[in-house]
């Protein structure tokens, strides 16, 4: 322990702590821009500078370790002047179009300009001019709004280990861009959107689908239905000042009905369906000696990653569509028939925590009869804009139930939104498929939590099943290398591109607080715990669906509607 003085306050701090952490421990907040918890500081933005007695220059508190007897000022006139000047410099090289910006009122640069009372253009001059990169169907990149804090670069390179973007150019001409300044769609980007979550401004943002959905809602000939992903219900409340981890399922349903959606379904229903198909596929693979381990295919970011980087493992990917695509397929076949609707008149909108789902929904193989299974994808953030535009006071909405028959779900489906959830749900059903009995303890703690790779060995009758859960795409490469080397011990591997799973997806409310992610995860596990049925195969609506329509898991109809194939996108 070392003792130091911060703003005349005696502070005890652990050795190796930075000044920033020490200040935070006693409630002194220091503004930051480039700082990212748990990553090695880069010291790029200089927002967090503090005055340390005996040091010639101001020091970056995010990078400088505490020493015994250190005397620190975090709010001296010299510090305030430096910080204000830095904010002014950043603002001066920014389009300053806050009024029409997607991040208006949710922008760190805007907050800092307000906090340091920037009231005039003292350094007006040349501004960077860049073209918005709209090459990708899921994301937009607007380098003119970029303040070069480098957080996106670090997320992409150090956490996700994709490396689609990096710094280029020098000095004033510096830019965060893709290789050769080509569009995101031709880069290694998997469109996970983690960079959007990291971006302090609107330099990275989702490709908005609000206009398409709005037009569809206004079209009297369209039967517009919505489906809600498992992870959205535990996060959307944050945008309406509810505490992180508030379950707003009921309000979401009533809110969507008020927006004009004819029916509101639950993607959780299709999550249960996915489990049935996937568990069946796993058993078939084991029995028929087909490629193992089998990978989950719920995460389109992961699928895109595998197609682009490891086409040789495509046979290992489960052929199951992701849940919302399955829901879309069932809606445009079974549901349409049941309701006497023309599938062409049904417009399916998925409310997703994800940006890459936008890309996925446009894949030509995900649909049939020249119709996409899902017509449009809205992220959690876009839905919030819809509610605000409609003047819906979300917190006052009553709780309503999902429409049926595609609204019923089990606890197993609820946990799809968190890392390890798909695996846990699959194990519950696979155990039943293999042994004919139900698992006693449905909670599998080994594969819960925030570690990068989680694994478990389960005994199912005479079979010993080894499973792994990859939490964040950055951790997947070693496991694939194992498979290619023929040493992989696993039978079944779940991969979620975003750290923490969909609950921390690229389309979720923008936050910089990792504790929030944990609270969201707990909310999903809570929904599971409270559920009457916690195993996908116990879902009565699913049983009816198979009885009336699909016949059995893996049937011909199931294959046409619920399964897909992949492409080698490596360019080799």
């Amino acid at each position: 322990m070392v003792e130091l003085t911060i703003n005349n306050l005696k502070v005890k701090a652990e050795e190796g702590m930075t000044i920033l952490e020490a200040a935070k421990s006693v409630g002194i907040s220091v503004p930051t821009l480039c700082y990212m918890k748990n990553l090695f500081p880069t010291g790029a933005c200089r927002m967090c500078v503090v005055e340390v007695t005996g040091q010639r220059n101001l020091l970056p508190s995010c990078a400088f370790p505490v020493t015994e007897g250190m005397v620190v000022e975090t709010n001296s006139p010299r510090v305030r002047r430096a910080r204000k000047t830095i904010v002014e410099l950043l603002v001066e090289n920014h389009p300053q179009d806050c009024l029409i910006c997607v991040r208006n009122k949710n922008c760190e640069l805007q907050d800092l300009a307000e906090r340091y009372a920037v009231r005039e253009h003292r350094f007006a001059g040349e501004k960077r001019k860049h073209v918005v990169d709209i090459s990708s169907p899921a994301m937009e990149r607007d380098p003119a709004k970029c303040i070069l804090c480098g957080r996106c670069v670090r997320v992409c390179n150090e956490i996700q280990k994709i490396g689609a973007i990096d710094f280029s150019g020098r000095g004033f001409a510096s830019i965060v861009t893709t290789p050769y300044n080509k569009g995101l769609n031709v880069s290694d980007c998997i469109l996970c959107g983690q960079c959007i979550i990291a971006c302090p401004t609107a330099a990275l943002r989702e490709r908005s689908s609000t206009k398409i959905v709005s037009t569809a809602l206004g079209n009297k000939n369209k039967f517009v239905v919505a489906q809600i992903a498992p992870a959205v219900r535990a996060t959307l409340g944050e945008e309406f000042r509810m505490p992180a981890g508030t379950d707003v399922t009921g309000k979401l349903v009533s809110g969507l009905r008020r927006l004009g959606f004819k029916k509101v379904f639950d993607t959780n229903f299709a999550a249960d369906l996915t489990i049935i198909e996937e568990a069946n596929e796993l058993v078939q693979r084991v029995v028929n000696n087909q490629p193992l381990p089998m990978f989950t295919s719920c995460c389109p970011g992961w699928v895109k990653f595998a197609e682009m980087n490891y086409p040789e493992i495509i046979p290992n990917l489960s052929s199951c569509k992701s849940p919302h695509e399955m829901e879309g397929a069932i809606l445009k076949s079974y549901f349409a028939k049941k309701m006497g609707l023309d599938p062409r008149d049904i417009f399916v909108v998925s409310i997703m925590p994800c940006t890459v789902k936008k890309f996925e929904s446009e894949r030509p193989e995900l649909g049939h009869d020249a119709l996409h299974d899902v017509d449009s994808v809205l992220t959690t953030r876009e839905l919030v804009r819809f509610f605000n535009m409609a003047g819906i006071d979300f917190s006052d909405l009553p709780d309503e139930e999902f429409d049926n028959p595609l609204g019923e779900s089990t606890g197993a489906a609820a946990i799809f939104g968190t890392s390890g959830g798909v695996m846990e749900a699959a194990i519950r059903t696979a155990y039943y498929t293999i042994t004919g009995q139900n698992l006693d303890n449905v909670e599998i703690d080994e594969i819960r939590g925030m570690e990068g790779v989680k694994s478990a060995t389960l005994t199912m009758g005479e079979l010993e099943v080894k499973v792994a859960v990859v939490n964040g795409i950055g951790n997947v490469r070693p496991l694939i290398d194992e498979i290619n080397a023929g040493t992989s011990p696993y039978h079944f591997i779940e991969v979620m591109a975003c750290p923490g799973g969909c609950i921390n997806g690229g389309g979720q409310p923008i936050h910089q607080n990792l504790d929030n992610v944990m609270k969201r995860v707990r909310a999903l596990y809570e929904i599971d715990k409270k559920s009457v049925t916690r195993r996908s195969h116990d879902n009565e609506a699913i049983k009816t669906l198979y009885k009336e329509f699909l016949k059995e898991p893996g049937s011909h109809t199931a294959h046409t509607l619920l399964h897909t194939h992949y492409h080698d996108r490596s360019g080799k």
Binding site: P41, T42, G43, A44, C45, R46, M47, V49, N57, L58, P60, A63, F64, P65, R78, R81, A82, T85, I86, L89, L90, E92, N93, R122, F123, A124, G125, E126, I147, L148, G150, D166, F167, G169, R170, G171, F172, A173, S174
Partner: protein
């Protein structure tokens, strides 16, 4: 890291190699890098040759002179980024990454190249090792001042009679370097300033010419030892123009990582660029205001850049401007208020007129003028139309009768 002053390497690379071997032996290192700009092919080819020779004679490689000590040297060619002179950026460059500095601590001696403890020094420092080892520390310390020992190599250039590399003992005055060693200013021009320490060094005027050349004294007067650049300027040099020139260099060489250096030096350059601008009818009042406001805020901006930048490049970037404001304030004010450049360098502030008594009306200037700014009948005195004149100076060059006046 090799800079211009280390061109001496072309002559004596063995001194450096030996120094590195001794340093490596002292700290127990087995691998050394010489970081050299690819733009110095002669230095690289000689170094390569010398390293091969040393390897041939067993002075580099495994078990050097049966000492069981192994040491190898590799030349890393840099792509020419100025910022790669900063040690952490240099390390990043050797690792094959973008040459951007990192915050310290951790210092390279703790975690440097490939995350391993690394000693990183200038060529000059390492080259001194051999002499110090063979003649003793006392010998080395006997030269120089109390705090700055030994000698320092400077690259004398600019408006000085003797240009080239000079090695001087620490502690002699600037005056001695300029007027004795350098031989003074050519063409009987007046000395105006000397810029010490490379592009981000400060410009020192006649009033501080008695300053000793050592680390502390130079810092006290607003310059620095830096890379050992020593540029002498005479009365024909404009200090505002010099500040603009060096700022332009610095801001284009900034790596772009930290905000004050990336954005701040660009704004400083813009402010300086607005100073030597001529008054025009109908000029935007807002632009006029910006011109004055910029200068008012210049000191503050410079202070913040110096105070908050990540590495030495940014921290020293405002030096040319700060020392200019300190020692040549009258020149800045002349540019700003009178819109006049006493050295005749800032073209836009010049007025070209024709002395009617000297003009013979030959018409040569009229024909040469690219903008048709000169009018007049053959055989009669000519006249310059100021609103068309772009101050290129072509008329001045062509007139055989010295009839063109420049103010």
């Amino acid at each position: 890291m090799l800079s211009w002053t280390d061109q001496s390497l072309k002559v004596i690379p063995y001194k450096l190699i030996e120094g590195m071997i001794v340093a490596a032996y002292a700290i127990g290192a087995n691998f050394g890098y010489i970081y050299c700009r690819a733009e110095y092919p002669l230095a690289i080819s000689r170094l390569t040759h010398c390293i091969h020779e040393c390897e041939k004679y067993g002075l580099l490689g495994d078990n050097i002179l049966n000492s069981k000590f192994n040491f190898r040297l590799k030349i890393k060619k840099g792509a020419g980024a100025f910022v790669c002179g900063e040690e952490t950026a240099l390390i990043a460059s050797i690792e094959g990454k973008r040459g951007m500095p990192k915050p310290r601590p951790p210092f390279p001696a703790v975690s440097g190249l490939w995350g391993k403890p690394t000693v990183i020094n200038n060529v000059e420092t390492l080259s001194n090792i051999t002499s110090i080892i063979s003649k003793g520390a006392e010998w080395f310390a006997s030269v120089g001042t109390e705090k700055s020992k030994g000698t320092k190599v400077f690259a004398l250039s600019g408006k000085i009679v003797n240009t080239g590399l000079v090695e001087i003992p620490m502690g002699i005055t600037l005056e001695e370097v300029v007027f004795n060693i350098g031989g003074g200013i050519p063409f009987n021009k007046k000395f105006k300033a000397v810029q010490i320490g490379g592009p981000s060094g400060g410009c020192l005027p006649m009033s501080v010419i008695k300053t000793q050349v050592d680390y502390e004294s130079l810092k006290d007067v607003g310059a620095m030892m830096g890379s050992g650049g020593f540029v002498v300027m005479d009365e024909d040099t404009c200090m505002v123009d010099i500040a603009r020139f060096f700022l332009n260099f610095i801001q284009s060489e900034s790596c772009g990582k930290c905000v004050p250096c990336r954005e701040g030096t660009k704004r400083m350059l813009e402010i300086i660029e607005r100073v030597p601008v001529a008054y025009k009818e109908g000029i935007d009042k807002y632009d006029q205001l910006q011109r004055f406001k910029g200068i008012i805020g210049l000191k503050r901006l410079a202070d913040v850049i110096r105070d908050t930048s990540l590495c030495g490049l940014g921290q020293s970037a405002p030096n040319p401007v700060l020392s200019g404001l300190q020692y040549f304030k009258d020149e800045y004010e002349e540019h700003l208020f009178d819109r006049r450049c006493r050295s005749g360098v800032c073209k836009e502030l010049l007025t070209f007129t024709i002395d009617t008594t000297l003009c013979s009306g030959c018409g040569l200037c009229k024909r040469k003028c690219g903008t048709e700014a000169i009018i007049g009948q053959k055989g009669e005195a000519h006249y310059v139309l100021q609103d068309k004149c772009i101050k290129c100076g072509m008329c001045l060059e062509t007139c055989r009768f010295c009839a063109i006046n420049v103010n």
